[in-house]
């Protein structure tokens, strides 16, 4: 490993420790790393967007490809800049209107397809026979129905509605407990990676200085 590389890895190791120091308490080292990364990330992101989005989607299309229809979205994008002025900032609403209208229209079909129809299909795909698969499928249906009852807003959770919605929130809580428990492994693995990085840096330091 070259000295320059060692120095850069040292910077990375130092910043890693700066962030970890936050676990003890807020301190100047954490604040330093936090501000440094905010600046670096914004700069990096700006240039990333500039080169990979602005140039091909806006600049090249208008300047080289002759796709003048892109003047419209470009105008809408520039209209966002009226927000710098108090008097004209209402103009930016036109751009926001396009932005939100287009997104909302896409959402309707997308979420009905992915979150409703696909889930419905999976739920009623298995005949309820008296074997392991059938019984699981039956229990899943019971769970889905009771959890849906929990989400009823316009009926009081009293009487039979109360009992079913109670089962529903129990099912939901089991789901959350399982989600939490399953995620621990991946989170520990992330920390292991950082520790292994630091161990590797210490090893390369000792190797470099003839240890």
């Amino acid at each position: 490993m070259t000295g320059g590389q060692l120095l850069l890895n040292g910077l990375a190791a130092f910043l890693t420790l700066c962030i970890f120091s936050f676990l003890y308490r807020d301190n100047p080292f954490y604040k330093f790393a936090e501000r440094l990364v905010a600046g670096v990330a914004t700069g990096y992101w700006t240039m990333l967007l500039f080169h990979t989005n602005f140039v091909p989607v806006v600049w090249n299309r208008l300047a080289h490809d002759g796709r003048y229809e892109y003047i419209i979205p470009t105008m809408l994008g520039l209209m966002m800049w009226t927000r710098f002025s108090k008097k004209w900032s209402w103009v930016s609403r036109y751009s926001i209107a396009f932005y939100i209208g287009i997104s909302s229209g896409i959402t309707i079909t997308l979420s009905l397809y992915a979150s409703l129809f696909r889930q419905l299909e999976a739920t009623i795909n298995q005949p309820l026979t008296f074997d392991a698969a059938g019984i699981s499928s039956f229990l899943i249906i019971v769970g889905v129905l009771s959890a849906l009852v929990y989400f009823f807003f316009s009926a009081a959770h009293k009487g039979s509605m109360g009992v079913i919605s109670r089962i529903g929130i129990y099912v939901i809580m089991i789901g959350f407990g399982a989600g939490f428990g399953m995620t621990v492994m991946g989170r520990i693995a992330l920390l292991v990676q950082r520790v292994i990085f630091l161990r590797g840096y210490v090893n390369s330091l000792t190797a470099f200085f003839g240890g």
């Binding site: 807020d26 939100i100 849906l148």
Partner: protein
């Protein structure tokens, strides 16, 4: 299922057809292995639900496919632009399959010529042969032709359209009945009741409220729900003269959040109290954003933290740091994977649909509450559908399941 299969089949083309090009080699005894009979009854139909760039070739199995000589391995499909033109291979499918979807929707241009492109209303001629285990080719089948047709409506997606329109009708019915003054009951939601307490607490302590809109864009519906709740929160804090801090990570979200807070202060009759610098941009990247928000939490010690919108892995980092800072925390997201962490680490959580319902709850306007009723009725229909669908499939009638199976 079969349709998905066909869609995949049509992708075959390159890889496998290369393998078939080899000629059959007679075996050493000089006895050539027998050739299978070709498939019969070839016909070509339009590929449904497309913009007119595909056809489906169908045939009946060769008599030697799983019967007769039982030596068919694969079928190879050939296409030409005219009956006596040059037939080129389009792909192969394994034995037992009687369909091949042929399509090419890449329009040629000056840089990328594409002779295989299938324009709308173009007629193509097909013939098929069977290839045996020993690579012996059958005779060609008869030639069949078909014309690509541009389909106007995607019939497979109609159930989604019907669902969306039914839902809209429900919404309009309940909103108009609410406008007529019909009283609607909504059950209490703990997370909503906590909002007022949380604002009160901040006022008493003289500390700010931190409102996090998550990592979504201004086009994400969960973020828009977050704006609506922000507006209600900001209106009340304006009345109490409590500071709301909104750090954001997307410039369009920044613009909308500033406008939302400004309007809330205006409606509360305190436009002078609005400070645009309290709604500010931090950075666009996930973890640098989290680092900055963590810093704000530990230095400003907000009395209350709101998390409303789209959240990913940062959910637990933010919620635990908020806990260290001793803030009351109310969260809501549409990200199922993050809900467990919000439930564990924040004081109140709006679970999925509750996030969208929150704006109606906070407004208490009858029109808004009417939409909740429409959601409930739709939910009841969904539940009935599950029960009937499960009974039907158990009885061996898959029609309800097929109704919700969308073949894109």
């Amino acid at each position: 299922m079969t349709k998905k299969l066909i869609m995949l089949l049509c992708l075959v083309i390159i890889s496998s057809s290369l393998a078939i090009g080899q000629e059959a080699i007679p075996d050493s005894a000089g006895l050539a292995p027998p050739a299978p009979a070709p498939p019969t009854n070839v016909r070509v139909v339009d590929r449904p639900n497309d913009a007119g760039h595909g056809l489906i070739v169908k045939w009946d199995l060769s008599p030697d496919d799983s019967a007769g000589l039982n030596n068919v391995a694969i079928y190879e499909v050939f296409r030409a632009g005219s009956p006596d033109g040059e037939f080129i291979s389009r792909g192969v499918v394994p034995r037992g399959i009687t369909e091949y979807v042929d399509f090419d929707e890449t329009e040629p241009n000056s840089e990328h010529p594409n002779p295989n492109f299938m324009p709308v209303n173009s007629t193509w001629f097909y013939k098929i042969l069977a290839i045996s285990d020993n690579q012996v080719r059958s005779e060609f089948s008869s030639v069949a032709s078909g014309t690509t047709i541009e389909n106007w409506i995607h019939t497979g997606k109609i159930p989604i359209g019907v669902a969306a329109i039914t839902f809209t009708v429900f919404l309009i019915i309940f909103i108009s009945s609410a406008r007529k003054g019909k009283k609607m009951y909504v059950r209490p939601l703990a997370g909503i009741n906590a909002v007022d307490d949380a604002i009160g607490r901040a006022t008493e302590m003289g500390k700010p409220i931190l409102y996090i809109l998550g990592l979504g864009t201004a086009g994400d519906i969960a973020t828009i729900a977050g704006f609506t709740i922000l507006s209600r929160v900001a209106k009340r804090t304006a009345e109490y003269q409590t500071k709301v801090i909104v750090p954001v990570q997307d410039p369009v979200v920044l613009a909308v959040a500033q406008e939302t807070v400004r309007t809330a202060y205006l409606e509360a009759g305190r436009p002078d109290q609005y400070n645009p610098e309290n709604v500010f941009f931090v950075t666009s990247m996930q973890f640098p954003y989290v680092a900055a928000v963590n810093g704000i939490m530990l230095r400003e010690h907000p009395a209350t933290n709101f998390y409303m919108g789209v959240f990913y892995a940062e959910s637990l980092i933010l919620a635990e740091t908020g806990n260290i800072a001793g803030s009351i925390q109310i969260s809501g997201t549409d990200q199922v994977a993050q809900l467990p962490f919000f439930v564990a680490a924040t004081d109140y959580t709006l679970i999925g649909e509750e996030l969208y319902a929150a704006s109606a709850y906070l407004s208490q306007e009858p029109v808004q509450l009417g939409t909740l009723k429409a959601q409930d009725y739709t939910k009841a229909i969904v539940m009935a559908f599950i029960i009937l669908g499960a009974i039907a499939i158990t009885a061996g009638w898959p029609f309800l399941r097929n109704l919700v199976t969308i073949n894109l």
